[in-house]
Amino acid sequence: MSQEISLAHFRAWLLAYAEHIEAIEAQLTDLDAAIGDADHGANMRRGMERLRARLADPGLQCDDIGALLRTVAMTLVSTVGGAAGPLYGAFFLRAAQECQGGSVVTLVQLARMFRAGLQGIQQRGKAQLNDKTLVDALEPAVVALEKAAAEGAPLAVALEAARVAAEAGMRHTIGLQANRGRASYLGPRAIGHQDPGATSLYGLIRTAAETLGAAQPASLASRR
């Protein structure tokens, strides 16, 4: 029987991501100052604060993973703004649509959800690999996850492979000129700087690897 990821795992992931974003806010600000408008850190932090508040709300009706991720999508869309808000929103919305009503998901389903999320981002933002966007961190992670799922790898191994791929993708943006988003106005001056969106997106995969594959989710895991 393949390992399952519970609603509690997903909540733990989101909380870990919120914490992670707060930890790297200054880095995101610096990266966006170099090739953008210095707000990616503040935008993501604002979104995460709101998300944390939503998740802590005892009245929140999120009894399945799909509903949880839809809430995440809506929260980010209405608080992050800028380019990142709709794109992160699209990721979670499309991922949610892939697991309607489920209270647990398998690695195969997770890979499908992430692929759908990537497609949502690309449908909205039209970015391809090497455009120097968050797609450069996400797409390699999705591919790695799919490969691991196809090979029947254990969940933790699959997620670690995704993390490694995302990190490489994030680093790869340093050498790129941008074709999408604000950094594209800079022409060749964008080369040499890591993309802020790819950096926050890598954090999403990294925290997924830290939480979704755990035997017991970090937070109150009673529901499992």
């Binding site: 600000t29 100052a33 170099a34 090739i35 953008g36 408008d37 210095a38 707000d39 850190g41 503040a42 935008n43 604002r46 869309v77 209405s78 608080t79 992050v80 703004g81 800028g82 380019a83 990142a84 808000g85 709709p86 794109l87 929103g89 909205r124 933002g125 999408r180 988003g181 604000r182 594209s184 106005y185 800079l186 022409g187 001056r189």
Partner: protein
């Protein structure tokens, strides 16, 4: 950080509170979500014009709310495109039965958020159109050009057409024409400082300038030694004219907007050269604006915007407007 603010995180809300207190006769500020509506909205039977942008560009857009211009403006966080729910709430608040036009500056964030807003508003049964403003010739690829100063001009034209009772298709067509016929380029003499960041977005030595900057503190395409005002103006105007292909004898509206920290004294020096330059190129400066119209927090520098005019656009430009930042006519 040399700013008159309290907590950086509160700056946008507090600034909107001040705006509300200063202009109770012109506008109403909603704080959840953030939008600024004309005090007499919804105006029955009139097309509503709505525009949004990050905060920090004041008077854009909140200062352009009022009779003859915007029915509502959606201010985002500093330099951050507002969210779809802001547009949606503004749409519900000001729609008067004749449809809504969103005027969108061409940034990934601006486009994505208003696309979502459009979908949501249409789901709710509103008739919504949108016009994209992309006037920055500093960006080479035309489809990717940023929306800059032309936003003010497009909003004024659209607002006048709406006020005149034209239908949504007409208002949209006129706004689109104004957008198509406008070009801008900016220059920074200093970076701006985003309150939550607390230090300048980029370092610019006092003897250098950034040519082709955007209005969000994005660095420009080119850093050059700071030249005399006349030379700077020629660089901006030449880049714009090269892209505009206007025939001699054409009437234009010329706008010189300070970016926030450049005094009027200098803006008039800039306008002086711009006027002479355009005249020397056979153009007629039929209308002008010189002042802080589209800013980038406390950035020093300016932006030049040209709009090719025709009798219809001139009439719409001249039509009465009553907003905090633009006021004329009855």
């Amino acid at each position: 950080m040399q700013k008159l603010i309290n907590e950086p995180a509160d700056a946008v809300v507090e600034s909107l509170e001040g705006l509300q207190l200063a202009y109770p006769h012109l506008l109403r500020v909603s704080f959840s979500p953030h939008y600024v509506a004309r005090v007499d909205a919804p105006v029955r039977g009139k097309v509503s014009v709505i525009s949004g942008s990050g905060s920090g560009h004041e008077p854009l857009n909140v200062g352009y709310v009022g009779r003859g211009m915007l029915d509502a403006a959606c201010p985002g966080a500093i330099f951050t495109s507002p969210t779809p729910d802001q547009y949606l709430a503004a749409t519900r608040a000001v729609e008067g039965g004749a449809g809504v036009l969103y005027i969108v500056k061409n940034y990934m964030g601006g486009v994505l958020n208003t696309e979502m807003a459009l979908e949501l508003a249409r789901e709710e049964g509103y008739d919504v159109a949108s016009v994209l403003v992309k006037d920055d010739v500093a960006v080479e690829a035309a489809h990717n050009r940023r929306g800059m100063g032309a936003a003010v001009l497009v909003e004024k034209i659209a607002g006048a057409a709406a006020e005149a009772g034209r239908p949504l298709a007409e208002v949209t067509r006129l706004a689109q024409r104004a957008s198509d016929q406008a070009r801008s380029m900016g220059v920074a003499l200093s970076s701006c400082t985003v309150p939550s960041v607390g230090r300048p977005t980029f370092d610019l030595p006092a003897d250098q300038m950034e040519l082709g900057v955007g209005i969000h503190g994005e660095p420009g395409r080119l850093r050059l030694p700071l030249a005399k005002a006349d030379t700077v103006v020629e660089m901006l105007a030449e880049a714009i004219l090269k892209d505009m292909a206007v025939r001699p004898g054409t009437s234009v509206l010329a706008m010189v907007s300070g970016l926030g920290a450049t005094p009027q004294h200098e803006l008039f020096i800039v306008f002086r050269r711009l006027h002479a330059f355009l005249q020397a190129h056979g153009l007629v400066v039929a209308r002008c604006l010189v002042g802080n119209y589209v800013t980038s927090l406390d950035m020093a520098g300016c932006m030049v915007t040209l709009l090719q005019l025709d009798p219809e656009l001139i009439a719409l430009w001249d039509a009465p407007v009553h907003t905090p930042a633009l006021t004329w006519g009855v």
